[in-house]
Symmetry: C2
Subunit: 419 residues, 2 copies
Amino acid sequence: MYAHIKLYHRFIDVGFMNTRVYDNCLLATMVKGDVPYGLISDAAFCLRDGYIEWVGEAKALPPIYRDAAKTDLGGALVTPALIDCHTHLVHGGDRAGEFEMRLEGATYEELARAGGGILSTVKATRAASDEELTRQSLVRLDRLLADGVAVVEIKSGYGLTIDDEIRMLRIARRLGDLRPVKIVTTWLAAHTLPVEYKGEADRYLDEVAIPGLERAAAEGLVDSVDGFCETIGFSVAQIARLFDKAVALGLPVRLHAEQLSNQRGAVLAAEYQALSVDHLEYLAKSDVAALAAAGTGAVLLPGAFYTLRQSQQPPVAAMRDAGVGMSVATDCNPGSSPLSSLLLAMNLACNLFGLTPEEALRGTTREAALALGLGSEFGTLIKGGRGELAVWNVSHPAQLSYHIGATPLLRRISAMEAV
Amino acid sequence: MYAHIKLYHRFIDVGFMNTRVYDNCLLATMVKGDVPYGLISDAAFCLRDGYIEWVGEAKALPPIYRDAAKTDLGGALVTPALIDCHTHLVHGGDRAGEFEMRLEGATYEELARAGGGILSTVKATRAASDEELTRQSLVRLDRLLADGVAVVEIKSGYGLTIDDEIRMLRIARRLGDLRPVKIVTTWLAAHTLPVEYKGEADRYLDEVAIPGLERAAAEGLVDSVDGFCETIGFSVAQIARLFDKAVALGLPVRLHAEQLSNQRGAVLAAEYQALSVDHLEYLAKSDVAALAAAGTGAVLLPGAFYTLRQSQQPPVAAMRDAGVGMSVATDCNPGSSPLSSLLLAMNLACNLFGLTPEEALRGTTREAALALGLGSEFGTLIKGGRGELAVWNVSHPAQLSYHIGATPLLRRISAMEAV
C-alpha cells in the first residue's frame, strides 16, 4: 500500500517496485479546459512513489506498465483529495450553550453576561492543556478526513498572547504528524482584541501580533499571515502594518474581508498580492477587478453565512465573470461555523451562493490549492502532481455537491504517513 | 451484547442472565417535565431483554442489581435512539443532473425537456430491480443509522401503479430485516399523478391509489396512509376520499400539507385524527388550534425548505404556544431534500425555523414516536420502554443540534436483530 511508502523513495530508481496502476474508474482531474471537471471516462492512472506518473484513458495506457501492480477501482469516481483552505480547527471548548440560549430567546446582553462570544473561546483555549486541545481538534480533523480531505489550513487566533498563539500553531503542526494530512498554518493573532487590550488595537499589534509573528516565523510555524479586517476587528491601516511585517519576513498574506461590512480590506489585500481574501459577502462588485488583477483568490464560507443567518451574498457572478478563482471552505470554528464537513460546505455554497457543482469541487481542489500556495502538487489530477486522491461511491462528480449530509467516500489513496 | 438477544427472551425468566446495568453517563430521558431534556446526571439504567427496567441516579440503583453485568459508559451522553418520521428513502436514481443544470442556469422548460422532476424518479424507480432499489436504499439507510437512528418511516409514492407501489413497501419492509432498524411504512400512492393519468386525479384514485391501498393493507404492508395535498398534488376533496378508505381499513392517516400554499389540508387531516401533518410552511396560525385539539403532530422538514430556497417559515411559535407536538425529519428524497443525516435536519430546524435544541431533540425522539403511533416504547428513556438508545461523544444534548455535519455517535445500544 502506498500509505506506507516514504516520499524519499521518489528519488530512488526502484523500477516498478513502487509503481501501481489504477483502472476501471471515472476521473475528475479538475484540469482547466473544455471538458467539465476535466472528466476522463474508462480511465487509468499510475502512481509512483506517491506521485502521479501517468493519467489517461485506460486504452491508452503505455505498455511499459504492463507488469505493474494493478488496482481495479470498480467504476468509482476518483478526484483529487479535497482541501479545506480556511479553518479555525484548533480551539478549546464549544459554544453550544450560547447557541441554545440564543434560540431560547436570550438577548445579546444576556449572552454577553453569560460570557458568550469569541472571548469565551479565547478563555477556553488558553485554559486547555496541549493534550486537551489536540484531543478536541482531532475529533474535528477526523470528521474532515472522512470527507476525503488531504490538506487543512489551520489558523491561530484564540490565544491572543504570543505564547498562546504560538502554542496553537504548534498543535496545528502536530496534527499533521498524528494523521495522514498536510497542515498549512496561518498566523491570525489579529483575530480580535483580548480583554487586556480593549480599545488598544495598535498597542496589541505592537506588543503581540507583530512581535509574535516574528517569533513564530523564526520557529517555522507560519505558512501565511491573516487578519480580521472589520469594524469589530482591525482597520485597513492596522492590517497594513501587520502585512508590512509579513512582507519583511517573506510570508504570503490572506485576509478575512468584507464579511459584515465593506471596509475595502480585499483591495488592500490585493495590493499585497494576497493568496486569498475570505468571506466577501459585502465585497463591492467594482472591487472584484482588483482581485482578478492581483491573482488573489476568493474563499467563500457559506457555513458562517448560514449560521449567522446572513442575507447579502458575495458577488459570485461578478467574480465568475472576472475570472477570480473561488474556493469553498468550512471555516470550522465554534461560533459562526461549527461545521466539520467540507462536502456539506460545497452543498451550502451551491444552495446559498449559487455556485455550480463544478465550481464547488474546483473550490475544494484546484482553487483551494492555489489559495494555499500549493501550486499544482495538490488539487489537480495531473502528471507530476501528488497522488493524493479520493475515491467516491458516486457515478458523477455533481453528486458530491448534491447530496446533503451523505458520506460517499470509499477510500483515500495517499502516500502521507500517519503515526 | 444485546444486539443478539431475541426479543422472546423477554417472556422467559432467566434471572439476571439478560440484565445489564449501564452507569457513568448523562441521560437525556426526554421525559416531559420541568427538567430540560429530562436530564439525569451521574445516572444509571438497567436493560433486561431489550427493555428498560430501571432508570435513575446511579446512587439510587437498587441493590438487587449488584450482581448484574455492568457497562461503564465513560461519562457519555445517552439519549433515546433517534426516529426519522418522514422519508422517501426507497427510490431509484438521483437528481444530481437536474441540480447541476438548475445551478448552471437552465430554465424550468429546459429541465422539463431534459426529463427532470419527480416523474424522472418514478421512471427510475419503476425501471430498477428489487435488488437495485434495495442496494441504493441501504446506502441512505446506513447513513441514517450512523446518526443513531432506530426507527425510519418510509413512504411509497414513486411507483404510481398498484404493483410498483406495493413493491416499494415490500422493499421498505425488507430493509428492516437487513439492518437493526424498525421500519414504519406509509402508503403514498397519492403523491403525484403518473403521465398515464395526467389531468385525471379522480380516476387515478379510483383505479390505483384506493384499490392499491386495499391490496397493500391486506398484505400487511401499510402502517399508515398519506397524500400530497397541494395545487400540484391532490385536492382536499380527493384526499378525503382516500382517507375514508383508510378509516374503513382501520389505518391511521398523515398528510403532506401546506408546503407550497395554504389548501387547509391540515384541517382536513385533523378532522380524521391524523397522526401528523407534514411541511406546514403555509399553515395559517388560525388553523393551529385544530391540530392541537385533534392531537395531530406537526412534522417539520427543514431540508426541503432549505433545498427549495423557501422563505416562509412554518408557524413554529403558534404551534409551540398551542402545545402542538413538533417533530423534525429528513424528508430524504432525491428532489427537494437529498438529505440523509437526521442530526443535520435538527441543526437546520434550529437555524432555519428557530426551534430550540431541546425541541429539535424532542422532535426526533418523543414527538417523532408519537407521530408514528409508537407511543412511549420508542423515543423516551423510561421504565418499560424499549432499550433502543444512542450513546454520544458530547457533553450536553444541545451539542447534537449545534454541530453541523459532525458524526458524534459513539455507539447504539440495541436489541434489534440484523441479518
